[in-house]
């Protein structure tokens, strides 16, 4: 364990890896700050540029973008009342109110500190649980994988968007999109309509860039293309003793909550920030202050969303299962570099595993430095006019998609999904369940078919194996509870109202 961490440091502290870590954190903060451009689009755009650097360096950089964006997202939430990225939605509530009361500095400061604590502690927890969990992971055969993916899909549907029916529709659409291409057992083409480039299935990157990158651009064309920044001097970034006293509990709870929810299938940064906000409001002695600029309402969720990024690496590395869109792209990247995430990765690629984990620790420290003194710079960045930013996003999307397979058809796929993304936004559908279902779809089908081969065609296999039975029962409950009046009420309060504000 100690040896492993030392190895990790020896890799993470190599000059080139430090540089890639820094670049990742910088880009992450940047896209986090810019509304509309999130870590998903940024990682997809940068993926092709990493082909010629070592796998460790590139995953270090891509992971840096992921957690860096969590830091950056809060800046926009606080100053513009517009979430820089999804996990910072809830931060707008109290963060912006604090800014209006002239306490923008404290809000930014506490969110950076909370993010740092959440990020680093979750990395330490990740180190502690990785090895024992890898031992357990071998017990996951095809039926368990099937059940786990079911639960992941259900949780994502449960949490995404306002209407459960809409989310379910998106998940089903995603499973269909995942069926396109050759099936992995008999190599027969399905739903390709004779387009040979579809034999390999729809590319994840063109779809994501279309839905998120281009969709965002199209949606922004409607607006007046300007952002109004709350005009205030950002000062007193270091929080006062009183602030720290009030936030300490929120930060500690946020860390634990975020990490655990990050590990769970379908959980992740967005969910944990909402749950943390709810918990803090419940526990607070002054619940009436929430929504009026309560510092706990910033500290808790900002800590939780960073802690969740650490947790989310556990199913990714140990089971090879991505449960959110970002880890789905990272999985694709790892496979492209010839790494096989799974229970054996600790044994086969310890250098990679520990190098990446330790780099996240280093990266969190870098981010604290990037965020505290440089906050003024990030604020300036928000003033880049959209008329300049949007065309750049389009250029990067097109170049990014083309450079992956040098295939012009994928640009068309991206444009089509751009239009779809725009329509989904207009009609209030959340794209996340669709993307996740599309990525999990082929694995899901494979696990189902393998399970049924194992059981000679009997579906009992899913109920006779304990892990799979528990997962499926939980998934089933999650599907029916939204119809229970009280849960429906809670769900409405936690998710719908929060997203209603924006």
């Amino acid at each position: 364990m100690i040896d492993a961490v030392v190895t990790g440091f020896s890799i993470a502290l190599l000059p080139q890896n430090l540089m890639f870590c820094f670049v990742g954190c910088l880009i992450g903060t940047l896209v986090g700050v810019l509304p509309g451009l999130g870590p998903v689009a940024a990682i997809s755009i940068l993926l092709p540029t990493t082909f010629n650097i070592s796998p460790v360096s590139s995953i270090i950089m891509l992971a840096g973008i992921y957690y860096g964006a969590m830091y950056g997202g809060s800046i926009t939430s606080i100053l513009v009342n517009m979430p820089g990225e999804a996990a910072a939605v809830i931060t707008c509530r109290d963060g912006y109110q604090m800014a209006r009361k002239g306490r923008a500095g404290s809000a930014l400061g506490i969110s950076a500190i909370g993010s740092f604590v959440g990020g680093t502690v979750s990395v330490i927890l990740l180190m502690l649980v990785a090895e024992p969990l890898a031992g357990v992971a071998l017990a996951f055969g095809p039926p368990e994988y099937f059940a786990l993916m079911t639960i992941g899909l259900v949780v994502v549907t449960f949490l995404a968007g306002k209407s459960m029916v809409k989310s379910l529709l998106m998940a089903v659409a995603g499973l269909f999109l995942g069926c396109i291409g050759m099936d992995t057992i008999s190599a027969q083409s399905r739903f390709t309509m004779g387009f040979t480039f579809l034999d390999d299935g729809l590319g994840l990157v063109p779809v994501i860039m279309g839905l998120y990158g281009m969709g965002e651009v199209f949606a922004n064309l409607e607006g007046n293309l300007s952002v109004s920044i709350f005009e205030t001097k950002v000062k007193n970034i270091w929080p006062t003793i009183a602030d720290i006293k009030r936030s300490l509990g929120a930060i500690l709870r946020g860390t634990g909550l975020g990490f655990i929810l990050g590990i769970l299938p379908g959980g992740g940064a967005v969910l944990s920030s909402f749950v943390s906000y709810g918990v803090e409001k419940k526990l607070s002695k002054h619940p009436e202050e929430f929504g009026q600029g309560a510092i706990e309402g910033v500290a808790g969720p900002e800590t939780a969303n960073n802690a969740a990024t650490g947790g989310a690496f556990i199913p990714l590395f140990i089971l090879g299962l991505p449960f959110n869109v970002v880890t789905a792209i990272l999985l694709g990247a790892m496979i492209m570099y010839g790494l096989r995430p799974g229970p054996l990765i600790l044994a086969t690629d310890p250098g990679f595993f520990w190098g990446v984990i330790v780099s996240m620790y280093v990266g969190n420290a870098m981010l604290l430095v990037l965020n505290m003194p440089l906050i003024g710079l990030w604020v300036k960045l928000l003033k880049v006019p959209y008329a300049l930013l949007l065309p750049l996003i389009v250029i990067f999307c097109i170049i990014g998609v083309f450079s992956i397979n040098l295939n012009i058809s994928e640009i068309y796929v991206m444009l089509i999904f751009g239009v779809i993304g725009y329509l989904l936004r207009k009609l209030d559908y959340d794209a996340a369940p669709m993307i996740l279902a599309m990525v999990l779809g082929p694995m899901y089908e494979n696990a189902l078919r393998q399970s049924l081969i194992l059981s000679d065609g009997s579906y009992h296999i899913f109920m006779t194996r304990p892990i799979s039975a528990v997962c499926l029962v939980v998934a089933f409950l999650l599907l029916i509870v939204p119809n229970v009046p009280q849960v429906a009420f809670w769900r409405k309060k936690a998710i719908v109202e929060a997203s209603d504000d924006y």
Binding site: T49, F51, N52, L138, A139, F140, G141, P142, M182, D183, T184, I185, S186, A187, Q188, S189, T196, D199, D200, I335, M336, Y337, G338, L339, R340, G342, P343, L344, T348, L388, L392, I395, F396, I399, F402, S403, L406, N446, Q450, I453, L454, D456
Partner: protein, 321 residues
């Protein structure tokens, strides 16, 4: 405005490599799509070979993986690529002459042109070391007495390791079930996790046998494995089935002959480097390289041999079930 200028220059720089097409092969990056999941024998061996070939040709070689259906997903994709030598697929030679007799394939042998065959897969059957089967005979005796009980994993339908097991089943009146995985690493994990009873696969299980977690019962190749000289071969056990094959680099039909020659020469040279030899040894594999004409001839004769053999057994597409 300076910033904008800088960004425009940056964009051009990013776009440049993709536009730099010139005369003479290879003038740009070559892509090799591997038919199996990362980390397995095909993947690691071809990655090593590609890295050395890239140095010889002076162009980068990008590796992608399209695992599924024993490598046929990759072959089905490659047949519709431009036959310019920049898109190649790496999959077992036997995929073209054996799998079509086992199940429907997304390509015909005539859609593909071999650049050359590299190495020979080494195969065997292994079980968990805590299983009751100490020898191949134990395993067969149990399988005979318990029809339908044994599940074994392979990297796909119609592979040699699958055919070998089905041949044994037929000769001994055994009924067992094959569970296909996307690669040897996943197939090995299924055994370690107790989800299947045995694995019939290339040597991805070698490290687990060396670590004492698995026991190898049989080698499919005619010669024993370098690492496990005491494990009996199929031939010694009177099993007369030809399983062995190598990894062929395939191009779509219509590829110019001189491009085939250039590629084959570079691969043959790369095959002899120490870096490639080291990776091959990890899987007990040799590092021979067979040129394009020899592979084409091999495919022609083997297609007939395998067709007759599988037909005589009534397996695969000739199955009457």
């Amino acid at each position: 405005m300076k910033k904008v200028y800088f960004l425009v220059v940056l964009c051009c720089l990013v776009a440049l490599p993709t536009l730099a097409l010139g005369a003479g092969f290879p003038a740009k990056q070559i892509t090799i799509d591997i038919g199996y999941a990362p980390g397995g024998s095909t993947d690691l061996v071809i990655r090593a070979l590609a890295a050395e070939t890239s140095k010889i040709l002076g162009q980068p070689i990008l590796i992608t993986n399209s695992p599924g259906a024993a490598g046929n997903v990759s072959l089905g994709k490659i047949k519709s690529q431009k036959p310019d030598g920049y898109s190649l697929s790496a999959a077992p030679t036997a995929n073209v002459y054996r799998i079509p007799h086992m199940q429907k394939t997304p390509f015909k042998a005539s859609d593909l042109v071999p650049i050359g065959e590299f190495s020979q897969y080494q195969y065997g059957v292994a079980v968990r070391s805590d299983s009751p089967w100490k020898t191949w005979e134990d395993f067969i005796a149990y399988a005979k007495a318990n029809p339908g009980k044994i599940k074994y994993s392979t990297a796909g339908i119609g592979t040699g390791q699958h055919l070998g097991m089905e041949y044994v089943a037929q000769k001994n009146g055994i009924k067992w079930t094959m569970v296909p995985f996307k690669g040897g690493v996943e197939a090995s994990m299924a055994v370690l996790g107790g989800h299947v009873d045995a694995i019939s696969q290339t040597t991805e299980f070698k490290d687990h046998v060396l670590a004492g977690k698995m026991r190898m019962l049989l080698a499919w190749n005619d010669k024993p494995l370098i690492s496990f000289p005491n494990v009996p071969t199929a031939k010694q056990k009177g099993i007369n089935v030809q399983v062995a094959t190598g990894i062929t680099l395939w191009a779509p039909k219509g590829i110019p002959q001189d491009v085939v020659e250039t590629l084959a020469t570079a691969f043959a040279k790369a095959a002899q480097t120490d870096a490639v030899k080291t990776v091959c040894l990890k899987f007990d594999m040799p590092n021979d390289f067979l040129g394009p004409k020899d592979v084409a001839a091999l495919v022609r004769t083997q297609d007939k041999v395998m067709g007759d053999f599988i037909k005589s057994l009534g397996l695969g597409i000739y199955s009457k079930k």
